[in-house]
């Protein structure tokens, strides 16, 4: 599409389409392979004792390479949450809930959708996913090696 409205104060419209081939690298590649197998893999650093999700190649606290992989537990606690009501195309249709969750045994939180939540009343729904709420990991029926292969659901 290219439109030209060339009088003074006019507008010329162009649509720019670009393709990118993003290199996964070793760490993200291993994480994505793990998702296909139904696992959430974190890296760990024996020097700092910290465990990272998303996994990191390097521990930013000890300045040493992360030297281990661990499977994250499928339960954890919401650290932050929001219900997105407007403003997005190309993802799931709003309203959708998202949360950052610290899975048990992991030192950082990872973000994803919160599913199986009644969003008809936003106040009620937001309280159900308030920070501090326990959640479980739920894998979907198809796993393609992307972060949305799993989501969170309230533990109770």
């Amino acid at each position: 599409m290219s439109e030209r409205n060339i009088e003074p104060g006019g507008v010329i419209t162009e649509v720019v389409t670009l393709r990118y081939d993003y290199s996964l690298g070793e760490v993200a590649g291993k994480f994505m392979e793990g998702l296909k197998q139904g696992k959430i893999l974190a890296t760990s650093c024996s020097k700092s004792g910290l465990t990272y999700l998303p996994p990191r190649a390097y521990c930013e606290r000890s300045f040493e390479p992360c030297d281990g992989w661990v499977e994250a537990a499928f339960e954890g606690v919401i650290e932050a949450s929001t219900i997105i009501v407007r403003g997005f195309q190309g993802k799931r249709n709003p309203p959708v809930a998202i949360a950052y969750v610290k899975l048990d045994g992991i030192d950082s939180a990872i973000g994803n959708y919160v599913d199986d939540l009644d969003l008809s009343n936003l106040d009620v729904a937001q309280k159900k996913i308030a920070p501090g709420t326990r959640v479980k990991v739920k894998f979907g029926p198809t796993r393609e090696g992307r972060i949305t292969d799993f989501s969170f659901v309230c533990a109770e």
Partner: protein, 399 residues
């Protein structure tokens, strides 16, 4: 103190801000600001030794790295020029870069200039989603709005506030902006109006969120020799500090985190350094005006608390009691209306600095607060990943 260390604001300019500016191109906007600041300072392009260009992501306006496009327009050909980009903190970082260039003794005067047209694309949320990691985060609907939704939910939960408490911040900002000829959004609105505006990402509604603004701004900064030649009452840059923190917002939430997102640790750390440089030991007693970078209502109380204007968790209670009002308040918080009313991202931090500096210079026009000796500005970039703050004083303070 040695006057060699003194860095002063000699002149400023900002356009009126609005959604679209169909009468000018990006580079012409930058030119209007550069020419305006030179005129304000009584300087010519020959008096400028170097240029710092304030330019955030160019996805919004669709010409990659548009600093190049602007070189001739801002009288930059033949001069050293560098671009600064720290997301929303860009304008504050640009002032810091210019300050450092002068303080180093390299240059006598530096023009900080930039322009923005955020609304050139209707796909702004898609552009903002691109700032997230492509492997782990981009598949979920993260943007600045939704990330700050996460942040605001945690803040309200931690300190026991409601959406109504946030709404008062927007009401005050829009009221303040009625005195600001440059502001994009302005007018008297009620708490009910904020509550009735459409929900974007809980707890943030449309009126809790800044507009997308087009316009430009510029500031001329110089050493003491230039101040003596060109400005009888400059604003002195007495403190400047910045901090950055991890890209991963999930690393800023857990018990083992270094820098808690909810409590905006980097703002406190930057302010401690900045205030020490400027001799500010009691912000509430010594600073009369703040110009915080506050594109979301929640970011005003956070900064008041983190910069030490009040204890953690009570800024919204004091908001209700009028502590942050221009008239009758303890400190005039964002007399311009702040970023909630005007957000030309690439120059917003610069506009905050201009609005703080002109208060100290007594040149803030209809926004002028009487008796301003010190004013603080701030700028925030990424998902609260970059923080910058600056203290302007009517007298130089050595550090």
């Amino acid at each position: 103190m040695s006057t060699n260390n003194t860095v002063a604001v000699l002149g400023t300019y900002q356009t009126e801000f609005k959604t679209h500016d169909p009468d000018h191109t990006f580079a012409e906007q930058a030119q209007i600001a550069a020419a305006g600041a030179l005129k304000d300072a009584g300087m010519t392009p020959g008096d400028v030794d170097a240029i710092v260009f304030s330019l955030a992501p160019t996805y919004f306006m669709g010409v990659a790295d548009a600093d190049r496009w602007s070189i001739d327009h801002i009288f930059g050909a033949g001069k050293p020029m560098l671009r600064v980009h720290t997301g929303g903190a860009t304008g504050g970082s640009a002032v810091q870069a210019a300050y450092n260039l002068i303080r180093s003794g390299m240059y006598r005067s530096v023009l900080v200039v930039g322009a923005e047209r955020v609304a050139e694309t209707p796909d702004a949320q898609d552009v903002l989603n691109l700032i997230f990691d492509v492997f782990y985060e981009r598949d979920i609907p993260l943007s600045t709005n939704t990330s700050v939704g996460l942040w605001a939910t945690s803040y309200l939960e931690r300190y026991g506030y409601t959406e109504v408490d946030l709404a008062r911040v927007a009401v005050r900002a829009r009221r303040n902006a009625t005195k600001n000829p440059h502001a994009h959004l302005k007018g008297m609105i009620s708490i009910e109006d904020v509550m009735a505006s459409r929900m974007i990402s809980t707890p943030l509604k449309l009126f809790d969120i800044c507009p997308r603004s087009s316009g430009s701004a510029a500031m001329l900064i110089g050493n003491m020799d230039m101040a003596k030649r060109f400005c009888s009452a400059p604003a002195f840059i007495n403190g400047v500090a910045s901090r950055s923190t991890t890209y991963w917002i999930g690393d800023r939430m857990t018990p083992t985190s270094d820098a808690d997102l909810t409590d905006f640790v980097i703002a406190a750390e930057a302010a401690t350094v900045c205030f020490k440089q400027a001799g500010i030991t009691d912000p509430l007693a010594q600073i009369q005006v703040t110009e915080f970078y506050d594109p979301y209502t929640v970011m005003t109380p956070l900064q008041l608390e983190r910069l030490g204007f009040c204890a953690p968790g009570i800024a919204l209670r004091l908001e209700k009691e009028g502590y942050w009002d221009v008239e009758g308040g303890a400190v005039a918080v964002n007399p311009s209306g702040g970023t909630l009313c005007t957000n030309p991202i690439a120059v917003t931090g610069l506009v905050r600095a201009i609005d703080a500096a002109t208060q100290v210079m007594g040149r803030a026009g209809t926004m002028q607060v009487p008796g301003v000796r010190n004013a603080v500005s701030s700028a925030v970039g990424g998902i609260a990943q970059f923080y910058n703050c600056i203290v302007f004083g009517d007298q130089p303070y050595g550090h």
